[in-house]
């Protein structure tokens, strides 16, 4: 199990009902982590509509996760 710090922005923050959380997960990579969270929080956006950043760097969904990583999910926003 890896322990991760998560941050949500915009629509994901609304749907998760929180801006951040700490989780323990068996998900090996960012994609599996998002799928796990999407099921738990009923996220409406698919992965292809989002960006993920791990430790302050935008990352591929196949990026492996390690204990202590900070993972940020970012939907695009367009308001002005």
């Amino acid at each position: 199990m890896t322990r991760l710090r998560l941050r949500y922005y915009a629509l994901l923050r609304e749907q998760a009902g929180r801006g951040e959380e700490t989780v323990e997960t068996a998900a090996p990579d960012a994609a599996a982590l998002y799928d796990e969270l999407a099921a738990r929080h009923h996220f409406s956006l698919s992965r292809s509509q989002l960006k993920v950043a791990v430790n302050a760097e935008f990352a591929d969904w196949s990026r492996p996760l390690a204990d202590g990583d900070e993972v940020v999910f970012i939907p695009p926003v367009a308001g002005g």
């Binding site: 941050r7 629509l11 801006g19 950043a53 302050a56 935008f58 939907p75 367009a78 308001g79 002005g80």
Partner: protein
Amino acid sequence: MTAFAFSREPLDPAALAAALADPAAGGFASFEGWVRDENEGRAVHRLDYEAFVELAEKEGERIVTEAAARFGVRGARCVHRLGELGLGELAVWVGVASGHRAEAFAACRYIIDEVKRRVPIWKKEHYADGDSGWVNCERCAGAVHGHDHGHALEPHHGRDQEPPAAFDYSRQQALPEVGAAGQRRLAAASVVVVGAGGLGCPVLAYLAGAGVGTLHVVDGDHVEASNLHRQPLFILADVGRPKAEAAAGRLAALNPQLRIEPHVARFDATNAAQLVALGDVIVDCSDNFRTKFLVNDAAVLAGKPAVLASVYQYEGQLQVARPDAGGSCLRCLWPDATRDGLVGNCAESGVLGPVPAVFGSLQAMEVLKLLLGLPGQLRDEVLLVDLLSLDQHRLRAPRCAECRDGRCARIGPLATQAPATPVEVSLPLVAATAQGYRIVDLREPQEAAREPIRGVDCIQWPLARLLDEGPARLDRETHYLLVCSRGIRSRAAAESLRAAGLERVFSLAGGLASQRAGRASSGSPP
């Protein structure tokens, strides 16, 4: 009862107001113009009003009708006196009844301003010294719409005042990195600002304040009362005016030394290249993905920096595309143009005024850093700030593999971004149904519940599901009219479904808001 009338008899404001009584009206505003005892320094003791009645009645009627349609009010009327009036007499009365006070005030203001500007009425002033003279009321309106003149009511401004002080940059020139040389660089610079909204207002105000010599303001929208909480360049009397013009007027008044160019147009594939060519830096202050990607692409193709920001409720994102310096752009992060409507815009999701103000100020700061060559410019990064938690993240967003030598393989010619056939139609939903369109309401269930579509059958199909399942499940022969609150999501969805091969999908222009305002009047049948 006509909406505009002349009267040779004294007016009775109470009776006029009572005639507009309406149980559904929650607000009533009226304006009274009185005969004043002075005009341009001369004492006046009575007035004669004359009008070219046939023409004046038609024009007056047109103005009141325009105001009713533009502001969505329930009832409006204007009555103007003719003949001889003494001091203090009521010369013109405007009354507006509407659902809420904002439209009532705005429509009332619009009617009196336009009547004074457009309706052929003359007044003969009889002065205390026995002299008299004819004055065309038109000149009272002045060059600047919204300038505050009562009808022979208020003193004229500006005649005996000192010339305005020269704009003073001393507080920023005192910074060693700016100085006189920096000020000259700013004066020589030109910046194109796309969107004069929540982001655009602070960008424009601070760049004008900083003395950026030329500002191009690009916006095809009109000021709405719902803009005012976050767009401080505008005042209530601007409601209904083109935003580019209203903003340009305000900026020119702030700093007359600058060249401010309003472009009352939507930034689109047909004008993107020409508009981008006008600036050294492009600032994206738009409120939709379609425009944001177009600004990015046009800037990259022109090799110019673009400062991009977007906000959502309490948070926002800032990025600076630097094709001129081998830096990353919006496409490095989002290779495929994101579709509008996946996440809400300000109209749909709500926004607190200071949120775009913070991000617009950050954009202005990045523009000044670029123009002045200051250190710390945001590059190959995205800044995320959550203004509720005050958390911020700077995320590395390096140049993608497709960007090479200032070109990005992901960006095609701009012209390819224009849809081949118009996707927007503008007509009442009842007429659309009669013409054979199937109405698809793609708003979220809670939005649709809050404000249901009445009077026509429609399919409820929230956007994400429609985009997902629509290509497989929609009938290729049926004409679908997609509807959302403002026409942004429906347009994006229609374009997306068109791209998936569904040729007969259309979007209701302006969304349900346009139906309420009574603007949906014409449309092409399927």
